[in-house]
């Protein structure tokens, strides 16, 4: 369970840092009236949806950290036979990188109020993400064709499960992206879409980061790191 503990330490550190700025040492029984430091005095408060997304990403992060914990516990068993390296995962990963890059382009287009570029960038991001999912499916299909099916080894089971859950999160993101694309056809003011685009980009970059960690784990590169962590903790 070292991965999830490590993840919670990071979350806890962020939480402690935030709490340290919340006047937890205040003595509210001595303070009457309106005093400085209360919300509303800041000129530009962070939108609720950004905070909401941040917390949602922490939940998604916990989910994948738990999966990694389970993976690293299960891989210690004697029957574990790692899935052979899938070279196709490299170009597939590139597709997700491209999707994230397109969303960065969309952010710039929204900032410069270029509606046409914004539409193109969002559609490109969506297409790259769909291609990424198709690529993942192709990898799973190839594995099945060579007899590495879901059930014949726990490593395969985890491979399918982790890729599937990550893909589900991409699909969820595509719903939000689709709504944003739909909104670009309903408005002439890109300013009104800046927040949605920014949220999509943040979510995409997070899923890319998660995928890179999973990629390293599934291809075995993270094994040394996992072994070091395990040794440190035991």
């Amino acid at each position: 369970m070292s991965s999830i503990i490590l993840f919670l330490v990071v979350i806890g550190t962020i939480g402690a840092w935030w709490l340290s700025k919340q006047r937890l040492m205040a003595k509210p029984w001595l303070e009457e009236g309106i005093h400085g430091g209360f919300p509303g005095l800041e000129s530009s408060p962070v939108p609720a949806s950004k905070i909401g997304l941040g917390i949602f990403l922490a939940v998604v992060g916990a989910l994948f950290a738990l999966l990694i914990s389970a993976y690293s516990m299960r891989m210690q068993m004697s029957d574990w036979r790692p899935v052979p390296n899938q070279t196709m995962l490299w170009p597939v990963t590139g597709l997700l990188v491209m999707s994230g890059a397109a969303l960065e382009w969309a952010k710039v287009a929204a900032r410069t109020r270029d509606l046409e570029a914004l539409k193109a960038a969002l559609v490109a991001a969506g297409l790259f993400a769909l291609a990424f999912l198709a690529g993942q499916l192709l990898v799973l299909r190839r594995l099945t064709e060579v007899g590495l099916v879901l059930t014949n080894n726990p490593a395969n089971s985890f491979f399918f499960l982790i890729i599937g859950l990550h893909g589900l999160h991409i699909l969820g993101g595509l719903v939000a992206l689709g709504r944003t694309i739909y909104k670009t056809h309903r408005t002439r003011d890109p300013d009104r879409l800046r927040l949605s685009v920014s949220l999509c980009a943040t979510y995409w970059h997070f899923l890319l980061a998660v995928w890179l960690v999973l990629f390293a784990l599934l291809t075995g590169w993270a094994e040394d790191f996992v072994a070091i962590c395990r040794q440190l903790l035991t």
Binding site: M1, I4, I5, L8, I11, G12, L19, Q22, R23, L24, M25, A26, K27, P28, W29, L30, E31, E32, G33, I34, H35, G37, F38, P39, G40, L41, P45, V46, A48, S49, I51, G52, I55, F56, A58, V59, A62, L63, L66, L67, S69, A70, M73, R74, M77, S78, D79, W80, L150, T151, P154, S157, F158, L161, L165, T234
Partner: protein, 591 residues
């Protein structure tokens, strides 16, 4: 006292965030069924959770009938017994207590207590309830499928949960897992609302350190639940894969009925880690809102500011953090490295420190207070003693050497029912008696309430105190009937019968409460805006019950914390949070 006049800032500062764009319902259906108003959603959550609670109560009766009077009721065979145990446990822990505290009280109280118009994501909030209801329907559906609901025990431990021979192996376990997955997705939508509303939608002047402890409790518990439920989700998905697709995440090599199963190499212990990584924080996900609620009830009904407010907030945060590093104390008998056992025993005992701080502070709040023995106060006092009882036996069980012999005995059942069953339910009742006047505009009947309180409080002790004794004698839990056990005297059966009779009486007494809730809604004494003379913001709404949007045209401005009771020199014995600072001459004390 530090007074900061309004004109320091040249008038009121702007609202913290723009007013929430409220969704205004256009029909009866969008107002009362697919409602996006947190107060309606709260009532939907509460009504659903209480209905499930009643069903879970009946299941506990059936279990008790079998234990108290074995083999008299032919329909309670071993299969049915295990199904009742499993469904009672899972329903009560997840679908009743979690849903009621966070979905019910969270939805009703957070926006009102922090001075918001509604939750920040009302649509997601609505979806949260409907997913919860779907999860409940799927769970209940398992009573009607071939083989019935799962009888794997509420912990759903593999491999037995999905092996033939365990009740509900075909459909029941799948429906349970699917229901849990949907519940968790729904809760995530609700939980995000509770946390972000506290962070982003507080009224002007409502700093974190001016929030009532109820909000602190629900806020921290929601954040914990958001991080803990994924563990159950991962466990449920993996077990569903094992059951449906034949993977071996948790399933070791097994021979069943002389036949070697296709499973192999899986780790049942891995499931235990995932389950308890959720399961232990879950105890505090239920307890923290109860702590917050009880703090507020005691302060209001003792007419005294809460003692050690800062320490209470820090204790909530400390308990929340520590609860994530104690999970394996539920697994001592599964076998673990002794150093781990030592670590988890120590961390378990350390949690007792912030918990004890809270209890001392409640007692010190009562000390020399102007105590009004109202119904909410009675329930709050009952909560404190019950939680102390349950907490102390928790210290026994947190120690490896004591836990191992007591594990799987009735002592454990008695412990967790006191600390996580009776105590939170007493807090829930106290909260309902306290906030019912705000929700309906009418008071609950006092006489009926007192009958309900005394039977529930004393009855619960008559049920669970003897159960500790049974456990110490070695009476095992999870046994359909004891049969011949040399070490268990015949008198244990007499005690079991007594417990069953008490359980039937206490359960029946809850009908008095439900009758009171319905009767008072139509015939109860009008409550007015603030019948308890409370200082916190929810009692200061312009209308009671609060309408859609809560606050009329203007959001409130907060000038002080929520506990200004019996303030020396004040005109009345409470000063509402939104009452502007009077321009009074500074006293000697201020100087």
């Amino acid at each position: 006292m530090v007074d900061v006049p309004l004109d320091t800032f040249g008038g009121l500062p702007p609202p913290e965030v723009p007013d929430v764009d409220l969704y205004h319902p256009k029909s009866w259906v969008t107002k009362y069924v697919f409602s996006q108003d947190a107060k309606v959603i709260a009532i939907q959550y509460s009504a659903t959770a209480m209905s499930i609670g009643l069903l879970a109560l009946v299941l506990s009766w059936l279990m008790r009938l079998q234990l108290g009077f074995p083999s008299i009721f032919s329909f309670i065979d071993a299969t049915a017994y295990y199904q009742f145990v499993t469904m009672h446990g899972m329903m009560m822990v997840v679908y009743v207590l979690t849903a009621l505290f966070l979905g019910g009280f969270g939805n009703y109280l957070i926006p009102l207590m922090v001075g918001a118009r509604d939750m920040v994501f009302p649509y997601a909030n609505m979806l949260s309830y409907w997913l919860y209801l779907l999860a409940v329907v799927i769970l209940l559906a398992s009573f009607f499928v071939p083989g019935g609901p799962t009888g794997a025990g509420w912990t759903l431990y593999p491999p037995q949960a999905i092996l033939s021979g365990t009740p509900g192996r075909d459909w029941g376990i799948m429906l349970m897992l699917i229901s849990l997955i949907i519940f968790i997705i729904g809760f995530t939508m609700g939980g995000l609302n509770y946390v972000v509303t506290v962070l982003q939608a507080r009224a002007r002047g409502m700093t974190l350190m001016r929030m009532p402890l109820t909000v602190w409790g629900i806020f921290t518990a929601s954040f914990m639940a958001l991080l803990a439920f994924p563990a159950l989700l991962v466990g449920a998905v993996m077990m569903l894969f094992d059951r449906l697709l034949g993977t071996s995440f948790f399933m070791p090599s097994l021979v069943e009925m002389g036949e070697h199963l296709s499973y192999g190499g899986g780790s049942p212990i891995l499931f235990q880690h995932l389950f308890w990584f959720f399961g232990h924080p879950e105890v505090y996900i239920v307890a923290l809102p109860a702590f917050g609620i009880v703090s507020d009830l005691i302060s209001v009904h003792a007419r005294k500011n809460i003692f050690g407010y800062r320490m209470m907030v820090w204790a909530i945060l400390a308990i929340g953090a520590l609860s994530f590093v104690v999970w394996a104390h539920h697994m001592y008998v599964s076998g673990m490295n002794p150093y781990f056992g030592f670590f988890f025993a120590t961390s378990t005992l350390i949690i007792a420190v912030p918990t004890a701080i809270k209890i001392y502070n409640w007692v010190l709040t009562l000390w020399r207070g102007n105590i009004r023995l109202t119904l909410p106060m009675l329930f709050a006092l009952a909560f404190i003693v019950t939680f102390i009882n349950g907490g102390l036996t928790g210290l026994f069980l947190g120690n490896v050497v004591v836990d191992v012999p007591l594990s799987d005995t009735m002592f454990v059942v008695a412990h967790f029912h006191m600390v996580m069953g009776v105590a939170p339910v007493l807090a829930i009742f106290g909260a309902i008696y306290h906030w019912y006047p705000k929700v309906t505009g009418r008071m609950l009947d006092e006489t009926l309430g007192r009958i309900h309180f005394w039977i529930t409080f004393l009855g619960a002790y008559l049920i669970f105190f003897p159960m500790h004794y049974l456990g110490l004698m070695g009476v095992p839990r999870r046994y359909h009937e004891m049969g011949e056990m040399a070490f268990v005297p015949q008198s244990a059966q007499t005690l079991n019968a007594f417990i069953t009779v008490m359980a039937l009486i206490v359960g029946t007494a809850q009908m008095v409460f439900f009758f009171n809730v319905v009767w008072s809604y139509f015939k109860g004494k009008p409550a007015g805006h603030n019948p308890w003379e409370a200082a916190s913001l929810e009692w200061q709404t312009p209308e009671t019950p609060p309408p859609h949007g809560n606050w009329g045209r203007e959001l409130p401005v907060v000038y002080r914390w929520a506990y200004d009771y019996s303030v020396p020199g004040a005109a009345s014995d409470f000063v509402p949070q939104n009452q502007p600072v009077a321009s009074r001459p500074a006293s000697d004390e201020d100087r």
